[in-house]
Symmetry: D2
Subunit: 273 residues, 4 copies
C-alpha cells in the first residue's frame, strides 16, 4: 500500500478544474499538452506540482490540479449515449455487493461509464466482462477505459447477448439495454445460484415489461427504486437547496437468482416504505 | 480470482431471509446453530446447500439462503447509534474515489457501518484507520468487523480527534461526529494535498456551522447534497411508488483540501442544479 | 362580510386537539357531548370559549379549541376509501381554476373529501354535482358533507357515469375512479369547450391507459405530475426534515377540452422541467 | 350561478397559447390588439370565438384560446421579485382554510401573485388587505390585480408592518418578507384568537430565526414543510418523469395564534413523518 504522494507524477490521472467550472481529466505524460479554450497546459509544467494547487495556462488562465475521484471519471466519460450518474452507480455497487477481486459481467457497455465503475471497484485482482453489439460503442468505451489505465481489467465482447453469455457462475450481472426482458433467461444461465442482477431503465413501461419475466425465469427478492439527488447552495448565511435538480435518470431494478420453492411469493421482501 | 461456488461453505457469510422478511447474517461454522423466532437452523445443515435455495428450521419454517451484499452488511450491523444508509454510503464511496489498495481514515467509528463499507471497498490490500472516543462503540464496531472477517484491514484508535490524527498524507477522510467544525484543522493536517473530505450531519444548523470553517481551513470545491431513495411496489399490473419512504438521513458535505490561491472563491464549482 | 368572533358559537365547526395529537371536528350544538378516550366534553362548556384556548374534559384531560381549516376537514373525513390529501387538493383547485360561484362536477364521490373541498371553494353561490355508483359511499359522503353544513351546495347522483353525465357546459370536472379511460367521451360531452379535466390515479399503468384516450377524445394541453410533501421538525436548534414521509398518493393528470386543429400536437405544452 | 358560455366575450380574461408554448393572458376589449412575436391578434377577432379553438395572428401563426385558471394567473403575473408557485399557493390556501367571504391580510405584496390567489379565493364577498413598503411593488401589483378585474376585493396599504397592522380579528395572515421574525408580535395583535399564520422563506436560516419567535409570541401547532412538484412526460409508450425539475421554492411555516397554557409544549402536533 504505497502512500499517496503530494505531487502529480507521470502516468497519474489528473483533473484540471477551470474558472468556468469546465474540467478535464487527463493522464500525465511528459512532452504532451492539453489544449483548452483558455490556453495550453504543458504536462511537463504539471508534473511535480502539488495536488490541490493552482496552475496557469500559457495565457495565464488559472486551473486547479486535483486527483479525480471515480465519480469524476464516470461523469467525464466521453459519450454518445445517456450516462449513468454517480448517485445510481454508487447505490448499484453497494447493493450488488461489488468488491475487490470479483469477476462481474455487464450487458450493454455503452460509453463505458459503468464499465469504469465496475473495473475500479473490482480492482486489479478482479475482472469485468462487458457485452455490446454496437461497434462504435465498443471503440469509444475501450478508449475511455484505456485512458483511465484499466484496460487489463476489462474484456470487451462484441456479441448479441440474446444468444447468451459465455460466462457461467458469475456473482453479479449489470444490464443497461432497451429491452432487458428479452435476455433474462440468458442472465439466469450466467449467474451463479443466488447471484445478483440489476438493470436500469428510464421508463415505467420497461419496468412493467420486465417484472413478470424476472419472476418466470426464477428471480426473486425483486426491488425497484429510484434515487433523487438534491444539491444545496453551500452558503452558510443562506443555506437552502439549489433551485433546480435532475428529476429522473432511471428506475433501478434489483433481483436475485434463486432456486424457486413453492412459497417463494411469500418471501418477496416487503416493499420498502 | 477464484470462481464463486454454488454452495455455502464453512467461513462464508450467509444471509438467511425468513417469511416475515426478518433476515440474519451469520458466518458459517460447523457445529454452531442460529436461533430464530421461527426455530433453529444448524450451520451443518446449511453448509453445502446451494445459494439461492430454501432451507427449513427445525420447526419447518422456511428461509432463503443468500450471499449478503455490502448493502446488507451495513444495514444489519448491530448498532446503538444512527446508521448510515446504503444510498449515502454508495454515493460517498464513489464521490471520494475510494477504491482497492487505499489507506483511508474515518473519524467517528460508531457501530462500524461505514468502517465496514470502507474496509470492503479498499480490499485486502488497503487499510482503514478509524477513530472513536467511546469505549463501548469501539467494542461494538470491532465485533461487527470481526464477524465480517475484515479485522485485519482495520485499525481502531481510541482517541479524541480534537487532539489530532496520527496519520499524514491520507487521500480520503470521512467524518461522522456531532461537531465536525471543531476538527477541521486536524483534518487538514492529515489529508494529503488535494485529498477528499466528506462528513454527514443530520441538521441544517450543523451544515451552517461547518461551511465557514471549511473555507477558513483551506478547503474548496465544497458541495452539499442529500439523497432521497424511493422504492416502488414491484407489481407489474399496478406499478407505483411505495406509500411511505425515509425522508431524511443526513446532509452530505464534500470538500477538497487545496492550496489556496487568491481567486479560489471564483473556482467554487457552481451549485449543481 | 361578518368579522370572525373570538369565541366558539352554536353551529360552529370546531376542532379539538388532544395531547395525544388525536383531533376531533364537531359542530357545536347545545346539549350535546363529545365522547373521547380522555373523557367527555359537553358542547355547552365549549360554547363561548375563546378560539385558541385550552379546555378540559370531565376527566381533566386538556384539549385545544381551534377553528378547522379546509385541510383539516378533508383529512378527518370519515372514510372507507383512500383519501385525497391536502397537497393534491390544493394544487388541483388552483390548476383547474376552481373558485366562488362555479358549478363543477365530480365523478367518484368516494367518502366526500374532494366534494368537501370543491363545495368549500365554490362557496354558497356555487354548486357541486357529484356522481357515485356505490350506495354506501353516497351515504357516507352525504353524512360528511352534512356534518360540515354544506349540503345545500352539493347534489349527489347515484348513477353510473359510463352512461353519461346529465350536465353540459360544465367548466371543470374532477374524476377519481379506477378506470378513467372508460369515461372520457362522457367527460368531453359534459365539459364546456375549453373546460378543465383532472383525474388522480395511483398507478403508472392507469396513466399509460388514460393518455391515448384523452388525445383521441379531443383533449390537449395534457400534464401529468405528482406532489411530494416533506415535513420538517420545527426545532430551531436542530432544523432538519422529518425522518419519514408519505412517498406517493397519486399521479395527477390534467387536460383541457379543445376543438382539435391539424397541428394540435405541436401545441402540447412542453413538459415542465 | 350563470352557466359558462362557449365563446369568449368582451371583458373575459383569455389565455392565448402559441406554438412556442409562450402564453399571454389578456382581458378582451373591443378595438384592442395583442402584439406578439408571431403577429397581431385583434381582440375583435377573438370575441365570439369558441373557447378551446384555434385562432390565427395576422401572420397566420396559430394560437389556442383558453380560459385561464388561477394557476395560470399567478404564474404570468408581471413581476420583478421571486414569485410564489401554484404548488405552494394551493397548499397554503387549503391549510389556512381560506374560502369565500373571508377578510384576510397579506404582509409583503410583492408583485401580487399571492394577492391574486387570495382575492380569487375569498371571492366578491370577501376582501384582501395587503401591505407593502416598496412603492414600485404596490404599483406593479395594483396593475396586475386591475388587469384581472379584482381591484374591488383588494386594499393596498403602503406601510411598514413593523409599526403594526391596522386590522384586528383577522382569521388568516400570510407573510412573504425577508425577516418575518421581526413582525410576529404585530401578527399576534392582528389575528383573531386561534387565527392562521403562514409565511414562506427560501432559506433554512430564516426558519431557524423564526421558530423561537413564534413560540415566544404565543403561537403553537407550528408546522414546517416544503412541496416538491415533479412533472412526467405525458407519453403513453414511454411514461417517465421529466428530466429536470424545480428543486426548491421555499419553506412554508404554518402556526396558530393560541392562548398559551402551561402544557402547550406537549400539544405541539407531532412532526409529521
Amino acid at each position: 500500500m504505497p502512500e499517496p504522494i503530494e505531487t502529480a507524477q507521470p502516468g497519474d490521472l489528473v483533473q484540471l478544474v477551470g474558472l468556468s467550472h469546465k474540467h478535464f481529466i487527463i493522464q500525465l505524460q511528459s512532452g504532451r499538452e492539453l489544449q483548452t479554450h483558455r490556453g495550453i497546459l504543458a504536462h511537463d509544467n504539471l508534473i511535480g506540482k502539488r495536488w490541490g494547487s493552482q496552475v496557469l495556462s500559457h495565457l495565464g488562465a488559472p486551473f486547479y490540479l486535483l486527483q479525480p475521484a471515480l465519480g469524476d471519471l464516470v461523469t467525464t466519460t466521453r459519450r454518445t449515449t445517456q450516462i449513468l450518474y454517480p448517485k445510481d452507480i454508487g447505490f448499484i455497487l453497494i447493493s450488488m455487493g461489488i468488491g475487490p477481486g470479483q469477476h462481474v459481467v455487464e450487458a450493454g457497455t455503452g460509453s463505458g461509464a459503468m464499465t469504469t465503475a465496475l473495473a475500479h471497484t473490482v480492482g486489479n485482482q478482479g475482472h469485468v466482462t462487458t457485452y455490446e453489439i454496437r461497434d462504435e460503442m465498443i471503440n469509444l468505451a475501450r478508449k475511455n477505459i484505456t485512458r483511465l489505465g484499466m484496460l487489463d481489467r476489462v474484456t470487451f465482447k462484441h456479441k448479441d447477448i440474446s444468444e447468451g453469455f459465455d460466462e457461467t457462475n458469475i456473482i453479479a450481472l449489470f444490464m443497461d439495454i432497451p429491452k432487458p426482458e428479452t435476455c433474462i433467461s440468458q442472465v439466469k444461465h450466467t449467474l451463479v445460484s443466488g447471484g445478483f442482477f440489476c438493470c436500469i431503465v428510464p421508463t415505467s413501461n420497461q419496468v412493467i415489461q420486465l417484472l413478470p419475466t424476472l419472476r418466470e425465469e426464477g428471480f426473486a427478492f425483486i426491488e425497484v427504486c429510484e434515487l433523487m439527488l438534491r444539491y444545496y447552495k453551500p452558503v452558510s448565511q443562506r443555506f437552502r437547496p439549489a433551485d433546480r435538480m435532475i428529476a429522473h435518470t432511471g428506475f433501478l431494478v434489483f433481483a436475485r437468482s434463486i432456486i424457486p420453492s413453492e412459497d417463494i411469493e411469500k418471501f418477496e421482501l416487503k416493499n420498502k416504505e
